[in-house]
Amino acid sequence: MSTRLATGGRLLNKSKALSFSFNGTTLKGFEGDTLASALLANDRVLMGRSFKYHRPRGVVASGSEEPNGLVQMGEGGKFEPNQRVTTTELFEGLKAKSQNHWPSLEYDVGALNAKLSRFMPAGFYYKMFIHPRSFWKHVYEPIIRHAAGLGAAPKATDRDADTYEHFYAFCDVLVIGGGVAGLQAAKAAAASGAKVIVAEQTAHLGGRAVVDGGTIDGQTAEDFVTAITAELEAMDNVTIRTRMMGAGVYDHGYVLGYERLKDHAPEMAGPRHRLWRIRAAQTITATGAIERPLSFAGNDIPGVMLASAIRDYVVNYGVSSGDRTVVVTNNDDAYRTAIALKHAGLDVPAIIDARPAGDDSDLIARAKALGIRVMMGHGIATVQGGKRVTGVEICAQAGEGAVLEEIACDAVAMSGGWSPVVHLWSHCGGKLTWDESQASFRPDPNRPPLGDKGQGFVSVAGAANGETTLAAILADATDCGKEAAKAAGFKAKATKAPVAEDAVERALLPVWLMPQGAGYKLRSKAWLDYQNDVKVSDVQLAAQEGFTSVEHAKRYTTLGMATDQGKLSNINGLAILSDSLNQPIPQTGTTTFRPPYTPISMGSIGGEARGDVFQPIRRTPMYDWHEANGADWEPVGQWRRPYAYVQSGETVHDAVMRETKNTRENLGLLDASTLGKIIVKGPDAGKFLDMLYTNMMSTLKVGKCRYGLMCSENGFLIDDGVVARIDDETFLCHTTTGGAETIHGHMEEWLQTEWWDWNVYVANVTEQYAQVAVVGPKARKALEALGGMDLSADAFGFMEWQDGSLGGFDVRAYRISFSGELSYEIAVPASQGQAFWDALMAVGADLGVMPYGTECLHILRAEKGFIMIGDETDGTVIPQDLGLNWAISKKKTDFLGKRAQQREHMVSDQRWKLVGLETIDKSTLPDGAYAVGEGTNANGQRVMIGRVTSSYHSPNLERGIAMGLVLHGPDRMGEVITFPGTDGKDYEAKIVSPVFYDPEGEKPNV
């Protein structure tokens, strides 16, 4: 059984016991435990079920490479699935549950899949769920959806209870990995004065060296780490962050650091995760190496673990993974595990070494001296056991698996050699080279990721660089640190590499399958990818079926596609594929390494952007008043505008109808502050506006206003609005609400990049003013009640503007109308907006004043046949389509869009043109409906001859009114056309003039 040992556990604080629960059972651990070590200490070897076959699974590894030990943590707003037990630090009250089983972890119905595994080979889903087609939606999809998904998704109603944030950091040298290589590289780099950040994904510095032994400068590795950490912490130019993973390396030295601030202590205040957005001149990846499993039958049974992990649990956590551990290996490193277990008083019945007998290296000799039986040239034929290991069957590695001997044991420590963690080197394009001696890919220093100046910006130190001995790792790290500082523009100081001693090892023997000649029965139980249940036989089948590209084989078998992204399975899978294809491994190549290194929380990616600050909400100066007076908000770009002001007992529709009638009959107020206002000034301002607008603006007289249209260079209508001439050199251009920033940018673009010799300056003053449209037959009365300027028709004509005073406010008043009523738009400085609005509401009280929202605005303008950018236009409409030829100058030789509007299809008589549409039964046409004509098109669809662009119920006309674009529309007045609705009904509408209300335009001219 796995248990807590009386001694050992360098990371534990045994004076602080913690209680936690797993599947509802309360268990004990210590401060310093991971969830994995605490579960093992309680003999919880079985931790979950696999994804496809629901095989019983226990923990394999001790770090972020763990494929099996995934649990769901927390409840409600703290619920999160797929948390790795090996990287979850234990805390008081932790609640974890295992995943992928029903009804329980011990008795799982889904495990039947395993019995059927013979019938669920690679590509099973593709092959099985293809016929009959009618089954896709109603049979296969529900089945697959039910079975699919690793763990459970949080409930949509449970909002994440934690907060997250980003942090922008800049440094000269970023070191990813706080093992001895990372620390030494940081020291060498920091000696130059360079600003250094060290990021270590675990809570502890020192990496593997502190577990694996060896001496550095005459001290233990542990003492060395303590000393160098203190040295670095004392330096002003060095920042060390633990619990921060280098998640991804991106273009131009951009690196994401994923800091887990309180996963280990959820009761702490502050954000849970912080995503560091780091810009580093140079990045050193000192990310170490990951041990590879060996591929033998039953290598996924709980109790079969990486040799290094078993060592970690003993040394770091004082936990035995079993009482009797068989070690199986192709290299010397696993002997360290055997020795560590022996020193901890545990039984190691045998070391099964696949390498042929030969000279004993230091480690082999030490193991033998401890009395451990070493069986060279042997392998494991199969592991016995179900929910945990009960023994192993030994065979010759060179044979086909004939059992020579059975050895009872409750744990197996396997080692297939080490693969450098090259992920971060590779994220941004660093290339790899095959290292024959270690049978692994390592970074090719001649082909690094390239930065903004074409320079290499990532280098690799230590085990991640393919170094295997402590001495070589420290020497490599020292050089790497110095070179990185130099590349970042610093003068490197002479830093001596520490002198290190560790065991001299015998060379590894690549072993990709155990035994070498394993038959189908064994191969179909030899797992490559634990999490996605991919076996040796699956990869071989993929090769046989023609998936010869590694990227195809990956997707077909799902090898390496699980949440661990194949950290354990990658090389083993490649080797099997290469063997099946009869080609060397480098020729097969690797799949692409993509960030993040391990999954990071969605919350950290979003950072602060949630809740109130999910996105900016722009508010006008009268926002709070609207809110307090029943505003039903409409998002217009990032602005919030009142759609209608809903009074008690009203529906939104009722409110819109009321506002629309009242504005025509009495007095309406609209908050028009969001409309864009752009000052254009200079000797060439008129000439410039003549280029921007389709009509002539340079002839506009001071004091006058003119409605104008703006087109893009390819002819399409992009914005409209009223231009006021302020003085000889100054114009004020109104834009649509959504157009303020884009039109300002459009103006700057043409001024800066095309007509840079023209003397024009522009400024966006949209928000300087609160602007109120005072609309309706009583508009003048209301303003006169405020008092100040002369508003009589003679003194202040239609399409004029004046500066003056109203009710003591300094105002700029425009007599313009987008409603067809008598109307003034009054601008006051934004800080006076609320006060001015209050004053208008006060004087309007006796005149039937009501504020109105955007929907009323829409109905009023539609009754008048005024177009709205975004309704009548959609980026494919030109002014001529809308009957706006009167606003297109024929005198001007050039304006933006003029040339495009001469193109053949722009002048075609086949273009749909704007008309009004009146339903026969006075109902309201569905917005966006298409009109159908005679016959069918080439695709057999009914021919379309038009579409509805705006449609409303008009309370003033007591009928539905609409505008639409119709083929030959203006020539077909009176004709009735048919709009099939999505509700199955046909709507009949008569083509009429788009001006439904006051066609003579008398109302505003009083």
Binding site: D251, H252, D452, K453, T753, A900
Partner: protein, 109 residues
Amino acid sequence: MLILNCPCCGVTAEETEFHAGGEAHLKRFGPDSSNEDFENYMFMRQNPKGVHLERWRHNNGCGKWFHAARCTMTLEVFGTYSAQTYEPPKEICDLISAKRPGWSWGAFS
């Protein structure tokens, strides 16, 4: 994510401060131009794999447009320069020549 140096305000900043504006050095063709010239001006773009001259705006910064010479394959930025010019400056062309011998882009090489 790229970093770019704005030649107008001198700030070196990450891509989120900037807005990409497509191909640089387009010559405008107006109302009297032929269909072919207008089509080339309005719609045809180089889209090279390698050296590219392109427009950027420092929209979350000084608001100015500028040009960048950049490799679309390695993302190396050879230099940034004023938008108020009809051709890339000689020192940038020389630098590109040193790094990408035989390059050409439009009329420039």
